[in-house]
Symmetry: C2
Amino acid sequence: MIPLDDRAAVEALAGLRGSHGAAVAGAYARAVWSILVEPGDGIAGALVETHGAVEALMRISESDDPEIRAARARWMPRLQPTAIAAALDAARRCGATLVVPGDVDWPSRLDDLGVHAPIALWRRGTGAPSDGPAVALVGARASTAYGEAVAADLAAELGAAGVTVVSGAAYGIDGACHRAALSVGGSTVAFLAGGVDRPYPRGHENLLSHIAATGAVWSETPCGAAPTKWRFLSRNRLIAAMADAVVVVEAGWRSGSLNTAAHAATLGRALGAVPGPVTSAASAGCHRVLREFDGVCVTSSNDVLEMLGAGDSPPPAGEQAHTDTSTRLLDALSPRTARSTADIARRSGLAPDEAAILLGFAELEGRVTRDDEGDWRTVSRSASGGRRAG
Amino acid sequence: MIPLDDRAAVEALAGLRGSHGAAVAGAYARAVWSILVEPGDGIAGALVETHGAVEALMRISESDDPEIRAARARWMPRLQPTAIAAALDAARRCGATLVVPGDVDWPSRLDDLGVHAPIALWRRGTGAPSDGPAVALVGARASTAYGEAVAADLAAELGAAGVTVVSGAAYGIDGACHRAALSVGGSTVAFLAGGVDRPYPRGHENLLSHIAATGAVWSETPCGAAPTKWRFLSRNRLIAAMADAVVVVEAGWRSGSLNTAAHAATLGRALGAVPGPVTSAASAGCHRVLREFDGVCVTSSNDVLEMLGAGDSPPPAGEQAHTDTSTRLLDALSPRTARSTADIARRSGLAPDEAAILLGFAELEGRVTRDDEGDWRTVSRSASGGRRAG
């Protein structure tokens, strides 16, 4: 019933994989699984995890477990011998390869998804997943010039800094991120909801070819599969899992990228969002990430590098709260009118001794000068004595 | 030495306060303190807290405590008998009143400042601090049209909702907030860095008169005092303490409103900021509040009401992550082509039984229809079956 004896198909796969024997049988079984089940099917994932892909396929028809019997009812309508050969043939025609756990190119970050990890991945391009830092930059298709500009700046700077940019190849923010990463020779990978032989959206056919040429376009659905809404939502978990941090660049209130953000939160990936005008509906989803997911406010690529544990820390904001006596002293001086130490002490509310000492330091720093009568004034190039600081 | 025997001054104060005797002596001592010390002087605050204002004044000259002796050196240059009479006279001329702890109009929220609470406050206007919710809306003088528009919306909506709007009467965001609150008949109060008889900035003289006419303009510095940089920074702690929540509406990287935010954090007040474009330097301070102070992302007056414990909670963002089987089912249907239950089961990866049950529910909900052959299609007004959801 399970077409593991489909020699033609197995040979076709051996051609794709450049190997033979038991390794091919395992990979073939995973290819079959990727055709039978919808992305993220936990029953299939658990079965494969427990028994291995080949043995698990055998168990489908044998098991009396009610959960597996229910799953079997779900999977069987897909079990058409021609479908498997067709998917492999489509993969061969578009130059796609099958990547399975254990392969050197298997993206091990995806294993964090547990039983919901993909059973197999289809890849266009030969880019192997990097061990280096990776960030998912995602956002809405309905983007604004502001969002696209920020997306491009972030992706280009992160790409140039050696960070792999992961995204979903959609119009709008996704596309801007891939393009900007490519423009600086950075590493970028795309995850599709449908088969990698079906460039989606159509208008990004060239972009996807460029991504495949320099990196990889991935999908867990087999070649020929249509990008359905369910598969988009499931695909988002792969984007989140594939990255060390997820940043929503621009997204409306109900954007699908909030689904990616939710997956990032579940997986414990660092999560951030780029704020925008509160008057822009296109940023409302980003503000939800900040409010409801406690996301990090991302304003620059350095903020993202910091999320990845590689950025420069900004000077602490507490510095702003630092209100020292030298401020009080300089408040009491004028660049125009020379004042005595006693007068300055009274005006600043400092003791005359303390004022005299601080004036001495300020003189050494070139911030104040003393005239022949011993009276003080601020050096006018200094802005520190300014009074308007509300 | 301490001019508690200045009968003319005491009488002048009695006139201001409408009372006599010991109460006046205590208030008078606090007025003297407010002239001797710079805002937030913790030594003075502790001395007054321990001994009362009158007794504390006596102790200045007697004490051998090295800390108090150092403070005395700081305070003595201010002790000019004419200064006290002049401040009281200036207060009388501008119609200011002295408000001290224990007065019914004393803003008790300020007591959270401990020994750094003001020893006395000068007030223009008769508005008493409300027990109701209060929010500090602050921001930079260098504001943009965006920031001012958001400030005005927030202040008008909060003012109309019965929330007192506290701010600093500066140009830019502060002014926009006061004006908008006044425009809806809302309650608004201003805290100044200099004396309440010295409208600052000058261009807000009319605005300050309006605030005083409907509420109150407060300062802890006596009439005649200039608004120095130190006093601006110290004043900011009063704005933070006077509110239940502090929201930075628009502020640059080094705006003084970050100092108010720091005070809010220290005091445990709810703290938020309105995001803006990351390309706008005028919002950089707000983004610091979100990043470095873990401030709440404020996008609407409802978000502020929520900080005050009075808003409607938004629907949980987790809803976005909800990817149910009915999505998978509807993905497999088309509004144009009728499909059999078996075909839909195969396309959706659902068991035929489950697909049949879900199709029945969807039919009841009017999302799908069945033709005479028993085949299904989606009802075209429904957008749920759409495929573009990346």
